[in-house]
Symmetry: C2
Subunit: 442 residues, 2 copies
Amino acid sequence: MADKKQLRLAAFMRPTTIHTGAWRYPGAWPDANFNFAHIKQLAQTLERGKFDAFFMADHMAVLNMPTKALKRSHTATSFEPFTLLSALSQATERLGLAATASTTFDTPYHIARRFASLDHISGGRAAWNVVTTSNPDAALNFGMDEHMEHGQRYRRAREFYDVVTGLWDSWADDAFIRDVENGIYFDPDKMHVLDHKGEFLSVRGPLNIARPVQGWPVIVQAGASESGRQLAAETAEAVFTSQASLAIGQAFYKDVKGRAEKLGRSRDHMKILPAAFVVVGDTMEEAQRKRDKLDSLVHPDSGLASLSIALGHDASGFDLDGPLPEIPETNASKSGRERTIEMARSENLTVRQLAERVGGRTGLSFIGTPQTIADGMQEWLETEGSDGFTIQFPFLPMGLEDFVNRVVPELQRRGIFRHEYEGKTLRENLDLPRPGNRFFEK
Amino acid sequence: MADKKQLRLAAFMRPTTIHTGAWRYPGAWPDANFNFAHIKQLAQTLERGKFDAFFMADHMAVLNMPTKALKRSHTATSFEPFTLLSALSQATERLGLAATASTTFDTPYHIARRFASLDHISGGRAAWNVVTTSNPDAALNFGMDEHMEHGQRYRRAREFYDVVTGLWDSWADDAFIRDVENGIYFDPDKMHVLDHKGEFLSVRGPLNIARPVQGWPVIVQAGASESGRQLAAETAEAVFTSQASLAIGQAFYKDVKGRAEKLGRSRDHMKILPAAFVVVGDTMEEAQRKRDKLDSLVHPDSGLASLSIALGHDASGFDLDGPLPEIPETNASKSGRERTIEMARSENLTVRQLAERVGGRTGLSFIGTPQTIADGMQEWLETEGSDGFTIQFPFLPMGLEDFVNRVVPELQRRGIFRHEYEGKTLRENLDLPRPGNRFFEK
């Protein structure tokens, strides 16, 4: 069993479910995304299911769609990542706690400090999902009229990463000696002053908190573009990604791990965890019925708003019960547009069905029985499609409970998923090395 | 009993003790400032003692003194306020959670969001200590070569406060209706877009989190200068302050409450809570012996560094066992210099004793028996010196336990301090009104 490649599982929990219809599903908690007692219970269920990590995306704006769609969104109110994860650290013991933090809208001293603090408070369970934030609505909340250009954002992200990891290394692991008799609290030879001055950032240091338990919190990245993949290859220890099919997943896996190896990194020190939407049923038919029911709860206003974004074309005037009309080329994302048109044509969907699908959740899904879901996951794992998944639940709490109660035991039975946590820290559980301190260790 | 003016008590907990010798005191926890299990226990003891709030100062730099003094400081490593308070919210039920956050080194969207999140997670126990951060060492950690000028800092703070409170009012209290049947999560007429554009800040909004439980977290301010007092009068609901004597405290109390009344505010809606250092003994002599012992644990290197800062003059070459030499006038703070010289002369202190005192803790202290300490506090309370205190403990955990086990019962016996919390939120316990929403309520 121990010689089988092990599956890693993160849970996508901000929002608690990505599906816009989820809060309306019969029996679901309509306020799951903003009820601390509920989220605590979900985190404890994840820990019972031996998940590696609770993963929080982030979104620093509300106004990202027209009001008539926005008012139907269950994610307009959410907890801030650090306050939520720190509180959850007190309700769990082994679950990793991954927060998204933006290199465009924050400063490295704050970021380094918060992740270090979360890592200490949680006993070594923090992870940082490094994002550059592509959302122009967020820019307006941070005093920027125009969003920073893509290449510049990525150069800043790389420098930001260097500064944050440098600040985490401000103190040797054994700097704080607390010699009561001689009154020496720390050894000054074990303190490093960073004195960073770069293209975007100027930070003196040292950080005002001891080196994190894990050395550095685990670095997560979600690179898709050329610069994103390169940043992931240089820095990421876990990669959150969207992959539409196994073949595409395998190509991505090969590309990013290959880039990392070229840089002298071990391919095992980067876990690739594509998002996977999972709906569990007693039969294939029941699972599909649940998904259809869920999709039907996406209001056309929400669906059309999402469809317009995906197509780069205003879909609000389309006949809901007719086929998708011809869509002219635009400047918007070509791949999203083509994928959406292809989906409509190949499955022969009406505009309403397409809008429900796009407004709900597209991309990699496992809809089936515990058996077929485990089959699919095992195939990805064993054919280098991924090292595991970031699970997206359809509705709460049932979707998560189904996964933990029914899919996890099947994965365990196959010897590809843990029965108990291997260690105390997230690094230990993900089998990632603890980074040496660049200033005090070879 | 209920008609007696009630004392309000905050606990100064970051650092866990302000006294530089504290971590060396016999029986004290040398790592109290950076041991989460210890801090949790202290917070629970504060709650047992019915304290209003756990108060965290903040300091966003390490290098504020020469290495030979710095290495003796137990505050070089500390938890970040939001991660710590959010974790503590899970270990306590009524204790207020006050964090310092800087209007100079952060952005209003982040600040509004974090305090709102802490307020929701704690069930309405958050408070924001609004500071402009006067520390030039911190500026170097945030990409600023020179620190922002005083007047400019205060203008920015005022604008920052308007933006943060405006963001808290982004949503009416009843905006989130979660109408499952019709698929309407919130009422768009109950969402306000701030669209702020001012001298320093440009923030669109709305905030991506529901209005805080308390409407707004309690606003704390620490104004001493003219602009500081004015900002406090305009905005503060609790004032953290340093007052050397009752007469000075009474003058400050009268001045700041008077300013607030001129602005149309009720004087009762602002609680003035000067810092008070408290050492409890069975007798006056025992209390004084504890304080002397504590002061003797301030290493001369630490003491002389603090003394140099207080005098605005390098004291490192002074004869430790001689009297304080004549100190020439400098550009440094005149009041601090004069207060220090006056202390040396009036108490006939050697340089060593003066350095120990200055390096330890100066200012308002209550050193005595539970009886004399309660006498002193009651006098301040009843003669308009203050509405309570922000207690600074000499060493942990004993200093805090002495206060809770011995001073609190004496205050309760006199009918000037609660036996039980009055409410669930910090506002309810401090008897402060819940602010109306400026956009949705008259």
